[in-house]
């Protein structure tokens, strides 16, 4: 139930992000979600893509430093308080969160939250125990 997130190292230089999106576009890879962590020096671009393995291949070939990280995607109702409920499972279970980002899907009423935790297997168990819907990779890549 883990989803592949693609990380790309970006020099803080104009045009670098556009180079990534162009490479993906030219290879018919669709971006499902995108999140950039940046400082004055560098950026790390994190993406959920419909064809993650192919993306690693083409981006590496284009000269980017790329890696893939297993993350968890959960679906929560798009209304106040639901994210808080989901997060309480992590704090109660003492599961350390590295980062997360959320986006609203196209077809369902649910919001998708992508979560990177230290121990994803344990997180999956806790989430399932709490009845939170964890999305499969097919569901996420096909959103």
């Amino acid at each position: 139930m883990l989803v592949k997130q693609i990380n790309v190292f970006l020099e803080n230089q104009s045009g670098r992000l556009a180079e990534v999106t162009r490479t993906l576009g030219e290879n018919d890879i669709d971006i499902r979600a995108l999140y950039i962590a940046d400082t004055t020096e560098y950026g790390i671009l994190r993406m959920i893509l419909d064809k993650p393995d192919k993306a690693v291949e083409v981006l590496t070939a284009s000269g980017f430093t790329v890696s893939s990280t297993p993350v968890i995607a959960i679906a929560i109702e798009d209304k106040p308080g639901t994210l808080d409920h989901a997060l309480s499972i992590f704090s109660e279970g003492s599961l350390s969160l590295e980062y997360l980002y959320a986006y609203v899907g196209r077809t369902s009423d649910d919001a998708v939250v992508v979560i990177r935790v230290q121990d994803p297997q344990m997180a999956l168990i806790k989430l399932e125990e709490s009845g939170i819907r964890v999305l499969s990779s097919e569901e996420v890549y096909g959103i």
Binding site: F9, E11, A37, I44, F64, T65, V66, S67, Y99
Partner: protein
Amino acid sequence: MIWNTAETLPRKDIEELQLNRLRWQVEYAYDHVPFYHEKLDSIGLKPSHIQSLNDLQKIPFTVKDDLRDNYPTGLFAVPNREIVRFHGSSGTTGKPIVVGYTRNDMENWTECCARMVSAAGVTCEDTAQVAFGYGLFTGGFGLHYGLERVGVSVIPISSGNSERQLMFMKDLQTTVLIATPSYVLHLTEIMEEMGIAKEDLYLKTGLFGGEGHTPEMRELIEARMGINDTQNYGLTELCGPGVSYECLHHTGMHINEDFFIAEIIDPKTGEVLPEGSTGEIVFTTLTKEGIPMLRYRTKDITRLFYEPCACGRTHTRMDLIMGRSDDMMIIRGVNVFPSQVEAVLMGIEGIGQQYQLIVTTEKFMDRIEVQVELHDGGILDSYSNLEKLTNEIRHKIKTVLQIDVKVTLLNPKTLERTAGKSKRVVDLRSKAF
């Protein structure tokens, strides 16, 4: 002001003195340093063959690698118990070179520095602040002893801590500043920030060395500090500061010719060039007991001239250093070789082997940016891993160079590749400095 009448001897007398001392020095080196003994034997040269100053050209060169290969004391002519002081400087491989001074060497070095101090018009009425580092680096101690010999009141404040430097300059009414020129310019920036005008200080004279500086930089320093900026030159291998120095006329640096013979050679062929030519300056020591140097190649590019100076000194003068014949960079007075950085980068995982050093000037201080390519995508998982990597690089370079660098990570294959020698250094320091 002339410290010693030896500085004004007629040329004929200087040359006679040089020849006598040269013959002694060559014989001494031959008898006491196996390195020189073997070197001269290998070409069938005996000390007795040195009959004129021109015969000096028969002696093979000595280079920095000879000091490194004979680390620590292989080139010493005396056992350590005769040595009263060690100094040293960094080398390309991280292995420093070490030099040693006998009591007589210390006396001569002090004499050379006292002459330098006097040539800058400094007297026992002055108070001098030594903002050179004290330690293995020869700068701090060399100047210190020379100043003390002249009777100057010395503040051995050492390098760094600009606010405190300025406080002492004000409170102790410092009249003479000893520093690297780039540090002086940096100080002027701090003065501006702290609202200190040159009129608030008592400075009259600067004795600047450790790195070269251009006429433009001198003009700026003189205008901002309200001082007479004099330059001096020296090398650890020869003694440290005190090899040559400017007088107040700024007509080149007077070489202490009764202690050193200077030659200008073509750095490619090693041939001695005719008078007035620009080339690499080579020095031979004339009185050294600790570690004699026969025809030491400095890699510094300059020229010599012999016309008498208005100050009355008759010793040969050398021009301000125009450059280096190898790839050594001088960053804030510290010798930096690209190969030192390379050695550090080779030992770090996750980055490529290509690198580039960008040298710039920020607030009149040299800055180095080290650009390397990030190859390991695995560390992108968390931002702190990226920081860990850059900190590791910065820390390891600082350990070797004693200089804080900026580390920039680049995407793979961003740095220019060439078939031959890569362009490792991009020096963007503004030409004025």
